[in-house]
Symmetry: C2
Subunit: 141 residues, 2 copies
DNA sequence: GTGGATGCAAAGAATTTGCAACCAA
DNA sequence: TTGGTTGCAAATTCTTTGCATCCAC
């Protein structure tokens, strides 16, 4: 588990590796993502940056850039909007998302390897998966 | 494993149980869903009904009704649109979806019970999950 | 200086809502 | 008959695109 500073530097070097530029909006977004305890939507991130600071379009474009640089993961949700979180390559996990308040909480463990193997045996390549659990949290009940 | 006719009758009785009415568009949609070998989008279903037969809005509204009656499952996908499939309570499975042609194929097995238990222990109720695998199929490679 | 990045406006795609006409029970 | 259902139009929500300006390298 690395420090926020290390994560930040690591993300910057990933960007440089793909010859993306280091800009103010990108640095601000990265810091936010690194400090996030749970996955957030483009809109959440935009609000947290301060509505007027950078355009929502810039947030979307950079999240896409980050995804391509392997810095963040995008996960589509039941509600139709996507959430983004830092890609912590070390360990793979999923979330339980509250249907009411939409907060997401990490769940360690992932047992999907068997299914991925099955898919590969069926002839699929570049296999990945999206797994999210939904429920109603104590506070919302 | 029940026959298409049995599935149809079963779906109708589910609708009646919740005092939803049996209408032509609903019957047509149910038949389509029962005959579907893979999950489909609202738009797919609308096209297959014949563009002009029933309104796309009606398809959306009825898919939502079906979901509430427990007749279909809705699954959000990577691309942002949702797919619908008949809810076959007997056995639970997931799909591998091709990133190029978007066809979905069933995968038997599901090992997510452990994660659901974890979520319940964290205080969540009504826990369900969405799991989809993505890859590129042989034909698209 | 030059090509990638940004902001603003506008377009797009999927889905939802309002309301009058309609029809299943 | 009457309240659920439908169709049409329009609104919403999330996300993407076009284009002129700007700035990181």
């Amino acid at each position: 588990m690395s420090s926020p500073e290390a994560k930040f530097d690591n993300a910057l070097s990933n960007l440089k590796k793909e010859s993306y530029r280091i800009t103010e909006p990108r640095k601000a977004l990265l810091k936010l993502l690194i400090d996030s305890s749970h996955p957030k939507s483009a809109d959440d991130l935009h609000s947290e940056l301060g509505e007027k600071s950078y355009d929502l379009v810039t947030v979307y474009r950079n999240l896409e850039t980050f995804e391509q640089a392997g810095i963040v993961n995008r996960m589509p949700t039941e509600s139709g909007k996507s959430l983004y979180e830092l890609n912590e390559a070390q360990h793979h996990y999923h979330h339980i998302i509250c249907r009411k308040c939409h907060r997401a909480e990490k769940l360690d463990h992932c047992e999907v390897e068997k299914l991925e193997l099955l898919a590969k045996n069926l002839g699929y390549s570049e296999v990945t998966h999206v797994l999210e659990l939904y429920g109603v949290c104590e506070d919302c009940r």
